[in-house]
Symmetry: D2
Subunit: 166 residues, 4 copies
């Protein structure tokens, strides 16, 4: 048996990790749910998890994206999952693709916070974990059970569903 090389997981926030603040009724970020989800999924693929930021993707700046690119370039793993808000996931995918050619990078997220009972987050994480192991180098978005190449994906604002541009 060949040892499996670890997969890098970068956390950036997004709906995926939102929680409910019971004192003011607002959604907010505390800690990532990633460890709990991987444990629930009985995941045995070795992973190295690092939280880069905890923000809404609508608030993500050029500097934030440079940081994400930098971290993806620097890390020694060549298979990377990034959890990300869905609204600008396609933008970050494009920025990553311009700089990184030799790694498989899969961005995923959730339409409903993990902490809600009906979240899609665990399903999306399972698919991202599979796609990152089986797709060739490139930058992809994994949502709705599908994967999309960085240069042909957008979130449909009316339906909330990811789709090809053309």
């Amino acid at each position: 048996m060949m040892p499996i090389k670890p997969i890098r997981i970068f956390i950036t926030g997004g709906t995926f990790d939102k929680e409910y603040n019971e004192l003011n009724g607002q959604l907010f970020f505390k800690d990532t749910q990633m460890h709990d989800l991987l444990e629930m999924g009985r995941n045995k693929v070795p992973v190295v998890i690092r939280t880069l930021m905890m923000i809404d993707s609508l608030d993500m700046t050029t500097q934030d994206r440079e940081l994400i690119v930098h971290q993806c370039v620097q890390c020694e793993e060549d298979k990377i999952i990034i959890t990300h808000g869905t609204d600008t996931m396609a933008i970050t995918a494009k920025v990553l693709a311009e700089s990184i050619k030799n790694k498989t990078i899969v961005l995923t997220g959730a339409m409903i916070p993990i902490k809600f009972g009906s979240s899609d987050g665990l399903f999306n994480l399972g698919s991202a974990m599979a796609f990152v192991q089986s797709l060739p180098p490139g930058v992809y978005v994994a949502m709705n059970g599908r994967y999309f190449s960085w240069d042909n994906v957008r979130k449909n604002k009316q339906t909330g569903i990811f789709e090809e541009i053309e």
Copy 2:
């Protein structure tokens, strides 16, 4: 945009679909949770779902496996997910591999029933959905975030974890 070809999903039972009978305290099979899970995952990959049986995989007979093989051969889809009890998943994978060469077949299941709050089923289904779309023709087991070729997989009875034979 190219239309996505449907994926066939065959249900055979297993822990995945077990429910709790509150009158006698036994676990039993009623209906598959598959539709609810795909809805929760916001899956948009077209699927055709068919329940072949609803049994514990320890009770699966040679005839049951012949039926599964027959259904996989006959169906027009060439990407197939099979939900299956974990105890004999590797046996069914082997039987399938002996008869079918030109389709991508992914068997998956769950260690904990979907109806339990802490089930791995949604994660496993997400990974099976991704592997079936991205792996070349062959028969695979998708569990623990990983995929295994049919000829190099077993469930470790002590740990409940899937692993390579060698």
Copy 3:
């Protein structure tokens, strides 16, 4: 066996019934979760449920409260549960107590929406259902496993916990 007299349940909204809008990331009201909760609790006490409004209790006006009082006076049941946002639950309790003396009215709610996995709503509903059957006529708030008389209760804004005024 004596038939049990029905309990009236009035829905007014509050955190209890908030849902997550996955298109814009906002919390909003759709339908009440009451029926699902009573089914989950295997409740067999006959109930008559009516939604009066679906609002944040911070937005509740004098007219809204008059409507609630009117409905409590008019309905033929003399045991009434009202689901209500926690922020002004004590105010509505006071208004009710000024007008209604001969009925047992229990206000309850939730700190976390029912739709979140970790909501206190089912626990609170169980306690409200019990208090309304066992307390003498009067107006009460049922939260945190306790009951409070309308004239000696407030929500501590710092802790989110209900407590006596003195």
Copy 4:
């Protein structure tokens, strides 16, 4: 504000606390879910929790019931909740009522294990917590949103619902 006297909670097992053993597919007892439930319910009533046994109520012996009676007599609290399997809850209630007159004792349980997403346990616990505070001394069963006196209650084996004997 008067300090609230603590409520004693005795754990005896039952469906309430059953978990799923993913290695052999059997339901079993590990630890009580009581602390998690009280936290989820934001309970602020002081409680003293003690696990007396962790068994199916069909396996409960005369000695087990003597132990429960002894503990209820000995403890300094005069309000007691007992979690108990539903099948023989009425028997234990009767045994308790024969020995104890001056305390309010409420037995409750669950038709579905807490660990299942759709358990009635949190609702039942909320109602037990309320009934134990508001009912006069006596021994009661709290299930299905209702309370029953120890001498007029049985579980209907066909429906799983608690009801009066006559």
